[in-house]
């Protein structure tokens, strides 16, 4: 599936989208605001200031309307002339216009600043999120769906965008307008204000009711969409099977049913959502009429006015009231809508923070890998140049340093391990691999083969037992250095967007082109690469989808080869290369493995046959070990695998 995209207006959740019973999380809001203030200590407060100012000015017309109309009324009553009235009117209009000009400047500054701040903030969040993700242990990636992780970068960041660019400014602005308008209304006339309040309350109740219905059907629509997408996905992937079985009509019928149900639910959801607009507007209209009538009545009946400003009730108070009513209800509506997006935005922020706060992969290792050279006495010393000789630099508590030559001697003793507490998948596993030996693991899926390799490079940490690398406890070795000394080729080949050359160079960033080509030749990949349209400069896309699985594996092997590590782990590295090609590649592989400690996992017994030791794993235990010949003689599990009487799955 394509990941949901950041798509501006279309990506917006429709009004009344379900947001569960999530509560507004104040600490999260505080944290977002704190980040904004610390990233933009000057600009963010400035933007907020502009918002407040612009909001205050937005209520000004009401005052000036009132004043100007009062002057007009007065002039008309006294049969005054324009010349006389203009002396009063023009200054008012000039003040109003200058307020507007300043307000425009404020709005301009604020919108430009917010665009800048929002995007800058999102950029920073993206980077923090990505860096946080890089630091997470493999376990996180094994236990979370990739789609979910991706959704932090797309959906959650997008809700953050809404939060910062729209919700926060709108709430601030609408809040200020509501308060100011309310005060002005009170100061004009408490009676009419009361009427407005009753109207707003009524409006609020109706929208809540309709909005609730809308939310219910949107929820159902969401479920229907999920079902439809699931069906579509299954059928699009199985379209060829559908064709082969001439199942088109049946499938169509099934689809029609699901499609109709979806249509029904989304029709209701949208009908409810659509109706909100006319309701808001017309209740506003009715309220307008009511205010006018009430105002008129009050005027006619000469009801004494109560207002903070103490003005007598006149037409010059009723008319601005009409506009203020619209402004008031409009902004109350905006506030209530923004509450939803704030809740959603904060939920997104929370999920982003979760990753940022997640425990990074800890690394207490202090033994590092350094370039080394031997002096005439055979002593190892550290050097800056690449000598091809490596050593473990081991600082001790007493302040001394020792250097141990990197040889590739890996020993596991009595290792127990489980991915989850209480569920052990490896029991008492002991493996000794001497430098230059080839050690193979054979066994059914789930027997624990890959798990062993996960422990050697410390993707996971053992529960019990010990693992020694050149005699050093691997927990003491800095993880990045430990992994640098191990080359892994995995069954599932992952290549990166970029040229073939760049992909090979991923193994060692400072490798020259020649070294990369040499590694490709060594692993048998050079042959097909040179036949690609642009040779080593061929661009790979979508995980190298323009290559066959076997070709991808060959590139992955070359990538590991260029790193030139003393220990290699090949986890089903040649599983997708057909046997004939494998036989050709085998030669390269053999030369690649020469002098290295190699751990091999393979289904295909021909791949592991010439190993020094073969371990047969069953349910997390090593049940047989020995060379091919030994194991054949034993006539045990390996023997029955070899003779094909057993199915490996």
């Amino acid at each position: 599936m394509r990941t949901p995209n950041y798509r501006g207006p279309q990506g917006k959740a429709p009004a009344g989208m379900p947001h569960g019973r999530r509560k507004l999380s104040v600490p999260t809001l505080k944290r977002v605001l704190k980040m904004l203030f610390s990233y933009y200590p000057v600009l963010f407060p400035l933007a907020l200031g502009c918002i407040v100012f612009a909001a205050l000015v937005a209520t000004a017309p009401a005052i000036f309307n009132q004043r100007i109309i009062a002057i007009i009324e007065e002039t008309l009553e006294q049969n005054g002339t324009w010349a006389a009235a203009s002396k009063e009117i023009i200054p008012n209009i000039i003040v109003l216009a200058s307020l507007y000009i300043v307000s425009l400047a404020a709005v301009f500054t604020q919108t430009q600043l917010m665009a800048y701040i929002t995007q800058g903030f999102l950029g920073k969040m993206r980077k923090t999120l990505f860096n946080g993700m890089q630091n997470l242990p493999i376990k996180y990636f094994d236990t979370n769906k990739h789609g979910d992780i991706m959704s932090h970068f797309t959906n959650d960041i997008d809700t953050l965008r809404m939060l910062v660019s729209q919700s926060i400014p709108t709430i601030l602005q609408a809040g200020i307008v509501v308060i100011t308008v309310f005060i002005i209304m009170l100061s004009y006339s408490i009676w009419i204000t009361l009427v407005v309040l009753i109207g707003v309350f009524f409006l609020f109740m109706v929208t809540k009711k309709v909005g609730g219905g809308s939310a219910k059907y949107f929820m159902r629509q969401q479920q229907a969409i999920g079902k439809t997408e699931g069906f579509i996905q299954e059928m699009m992937n199985g379209q060829k099977v559908v064709k082969v079985f001439c199942h088109e009509d049946k499938t169509q019928k099934q689809f029609d049913e699901i499609n109709d149900a979806l249509c029904e639910d989304s029709k209701r959801a949208h009908a409810y959502a659509n109706i909100l607009g006319p309701i808001n507007m017309n209740i506003g209209n009715i309220l307008y009429v009511i205010i006018a009538t009430v105002g008129g009545l009050l005027l006619l009946l000469n009801v004494p006015n109560i207002g903070l400003a103490g003005l007598p009730l006149s037409i010059s108070i009723v008319i601005p009231f009409l506009n203020m009513t619209k402004q008031f209800t409009g902004n109350v509506n905006q506030l209530s809508q923004q509450i939803n997006s704030i809740v959603m935005g904060l939920a997104g922020a929370e999920r982003v923070f979760e990753i940022m706060d997640a425990m990074p992969e800890d690394d207490e290792g202090y033994v590092t890998l350094v370039n080394a050279k031997k002096d005439e006495n055979g002593n190892i010393t550290e050097t800056d140049e690449r000598t091809g000789l490596w050593a473990w630099k081991h600082p001790h508590e007493d302040g001394t340093l020792t250097y141990t030559e990197l040889r590739g001697d890996v020993r596991m003793v009595g290792v127990d391990f489980g991915y989850e507490e209480g569920k052990e998948v490896l029991h008492d596993v002991s493996v000794y691999a001497e430098p230059g030996q080839k050690v193979a693991f054979v066994g059914a899926t789930g027997a624990g083969k890959t798990t062993i390799t996960n422990l050697i490079n410390r993707f996971y940490d053992i529960a019990d037992g010990k693992i020694r690398y050149d005699g050093i406890n691997i927990n003491k070795i800095k993880k990045s250095d430990l992994r640098r000394s191990l080359g892994i080729v995995l069954q599932e080949t992952n290549l990166f967007t970029g040229t073939v050359m760049e992909n090979i160079r991923y193994g060692r960033l400072d490798a020259t082109d020649d070294e990369c080509i040499k590694a490709a030749k060594l692993s048998g990949a050079d042959d097909f690469i040179t036949r690609l349209p642009n040779g080593y400069d061929t661009e790979l896309k979508n995980n190298g989808s323009n290559l066959s699985q076997g070709q991808r594996q060959l590139i992955a092997i070359a990538r590991a080869a260029v790193a030139d590590p003393p220990v290699m782990i090949l986890d089903e590295a040649t599983s997708s290369i057909d046997t004939r090609t494998e036989a050709i590649v085998q030669k390269g592989m053999d030369s690649l493995m020469k002098g290295r400690t190699v751990f091999v996992i393979a289904h295909r017994l021909s791949t592991v046959k010439n190993s020094d030791v073969i371990m047969v794993l069953d349910k997390g235990r090593i049940i047989e070990r020995g060379s091919h010949e030994d194991l054949i003689k034993q006539k045990g599990q390996y023997y029955s695998l070899y003779t094909g009487a057993f199915e490996l799955e």
């Binding site: 216009a97 493999i138 379209q239 082969v244 309701i279 017309n282 009429v289 993880k479 036989a583």
Partner: protein, 582 residues
């Protein structure tokens, strides 16, 4: 493009038209409301008897209710029309895809089809709703407001002469500049997300090579670039607000100034106070409608891509068609290839199959062997006419495959695909794909033959075991055997297994082949395999290399004549490759 899409509106034309009509009604009332309100204000102003005020007020309330009714009905009809349109569109697309041939399917990837059927349709649905609701509403509101403003406001309306062009110009400027900027940055953004996804997927590689810092740097520079582009685009859009504000403010100031002058100088005769407030309302209406129009413009252009992608599917012609007077019977399971050349794509330089001549008698067992990319699958896919030959002809039962009714042909030629799939549902339901009327006995019989009966009975729910989507709860070998059983249920004249027992152990594999020989002797069996053992005892073995038949013969003959065959055989038997799980 619009024409293609519009075909799917069908029964939803009526609700669409009703929407437009009721929206028009709503707009008319909406425009009239400020007009009446002005009267109301004036009657209060003039101190008319309260009964007049109430009368006008009641008229206004009635109008508000009428407007609510129109708006409400339009809300429902528009929801009905747009979701119905989307339903039809989805249905039409799905139907079109059902009619696709294999080469059509190859052209669109499954993921892209899923996106087209889901996200793209949603975009079109939203746009359609916008069009019938707002795209009619806004211009109408605009026109009516302008007309009424002029008839009512007279000289006051001159302010609009300035404001409207300024706003239109400003909005167009923003839309023109922002959209390409956004389109560019969205493309980059998609790429960035792809690279994140790539990273998440390849996390073992990243960590395995200790490349975390390298990836962080790479990402930081890409993300910074995007931030910059986004900021640029967003800043253009941010101009919308000030432009709108400017027009609004300008309008207010001009109307207040001009209004007060006109009222006073005419002593409230040519223009009165009520008109001033009405003009202010119209001002807001006019400006808002323009704003909405620009939003629709932006939204429509954004969903243009979606429309294009949908039309691509709707306009795709199936490359395989049933003949006019098709044959409805396949005589026997004999197969003949006459000088067949085949390529997947007209524009491909190289033929996938070249110069194929082959004759297979009914009831024979034929093995096909060859390296990856030697076109083994291409060869057999021509038999049930999954693809059409480029040159030459393929005969089944003595007739060109292109003369048969496609369903008849494919029922007679059962093919177990290499990339096979089970569907979510019980085992029984899956098996009945082969023959929907098959009795339980027939199901069991087929499963026994495919060596599946035993493990099915091992499941707690037996044949009613539910298969999860993608068949994730059965092993690869079990899945393959179920797929074979499903094909067997067709009782085909020709059975093709395209590498269909690769995950099955050799012993079971041998049992399956033995069963075929005993129970379906008259069916022609074609077996593609990587394992020599799977084809060794076939009547005829075809060795493929680079799209050509390298050798044909039985095992003993090929051991003498075919170097490739010998090489593979030796490699596998000496190498002890009895467990091919690729």
């Amino acid at each position: 493009m619009i024409k293609t899409l519009a075909k799917s509106i069908r029964e939803y034309k009526l609700p669409s038209i009703l929407t437009v009509i009721f929206i028009m009604g709503e707009v008319l009332i909406e425009v009239a409301i400020p007009f009446i309100t002005a009267n109301l204000v004036n009657s209060i102003d003039a101190g008319e008897p309260i009964i007049n005020v109430i009368k006008t007020g009641l008229i206004l309330v009635a109008m508000a209710f009428a407007s609510l009714a129109c708006g409400g009905i339009a809300a429902i009809t528009s929801a009905k029309a747009s979701t119905g349109f989307a339903r039809n569109l989805r249905r039409d697309m799905f139907q079109k895809i059902q009619g696709f041939s294999f080469s059509n399917i190859d052209k669109f990837s499954a993921t892209s089809l899923v996106t087209r059927l889901t996200t793209d349709i949603t975009h079109v649905q939203m746009s359609y709703m916008m069009v019938i609701r707002v795209a009619i509403r806004s211009p109408m509101l605009f026109i009516f407001s302008v007309i009424t403003a002029y008839t009512m406001g007279g000289a006051l309306a001159t302010s609009f002469v300035v404001v409207i062009p300024v706003l239109i110009g400003g909005l167009l400027f923003v839309a023109k500049n922002a959209m390409p900027a956004f389109r560019r940055v969205f493309k980059k953004y998609d790429k960035l997300n792809e690279s994140i996804e790539e990273n998440v997927r390849a996390m073992r590689v990243v960590k395995g090579f200790s490349r975390e810092e390298y990836e962080k740097q790479k990402f930081a520079s890409a993300a910074d670039g995007i931030t910059e582009d986004f900021t640029k685009a967003e800043r253009i859009v941010a101009l919308n607000n000030p432009i709108m504000q400017f027009c609004m403010y300008f309008n207010t100031v001009v109307i207040l100034f001009l209004g007060s002058y006109l009222v006073i100088s005419s002593s409230g005769k040519s223009v009165n106070v009520g008109q001033i407030s009405a003009m202010l309302t119209y001002g807001v209406q006019i400006l808002m409608s323009l704003m909405m129009l620009s939003m629709i413009y932006v939204m429509l252009t954004m969903s243009l891509e979606s429309m294009k992608r949908i039309c691509e599917v709707l306009n795709e012609e199936s490359s395989l068609k049933n003949p006019e007077n098709p044959l409805y019977e396949v005589k026997d399971g004999s197969i003949k290839f006459n000088n067949v050349n085949f390529k997947y794509n007209k524009d491909a330089k190289r033929n996938a199959l070249e110069g194929i001549n082959l004759e297979i008698k009914s009831g024979m067992t034929v093995g096909v062997i060859g390296g990856t990319g030697s076109s083994k699958s291409s060869l057999v896919q021509l038999i049930p006419r999954l693809y059409d030959v480029t040159d030459g002809e393929v005969l089944v039962g003595g007739e060109d495959v292109r003369k048969y009714d496609i369903k008849t042909l494919r029922d007679a030629v059962a093919m177990v695909l290499q990339k096979n799939q089970l569907f979510s549902g019980t085992i029984k339901e899956n098996l009945r794909w082969g023959n929907e009327n098959a009795t339980d006995e027939e199901l069991i019989e087929a499963c026994k033959l495919a060596q599946a009966d035993e493990f099915i009975n091992g499941f707690t729910d037996g044949y009613d075991t539910y298969i999860e989507q993608g068949g994730t709860n059965v092993s690869g070998g079990q899945k393959q055997r179920l797929c074979i059983a499903r094909a067997l249920l067709k009782k085909p004249k020709i059975l093709i297994l395209d590498d269909s027992t690769s995950a099955v152990d050799t012993k079971t594999d041998a049992f399956i082949r033995k069963g075929f020989k005993e129970f379906i002797p008259n069916t022609t069996k074609i077996i593609i395999a990587q394992r020599v053992a799977s084809v060794q005892d076939a009547d005829m073995i075809i060795v493929m290399e680079n799209g050509k038949i390298a050798n044909v013969g039985n095992h003993n003959e090929l051991m003498n004549t075919s170097e490739i065959y010998r090489e593979v055989y030796n490699q596998q038997t000496n190498g002890g490759d009895s467990n091919e799980n690729a």
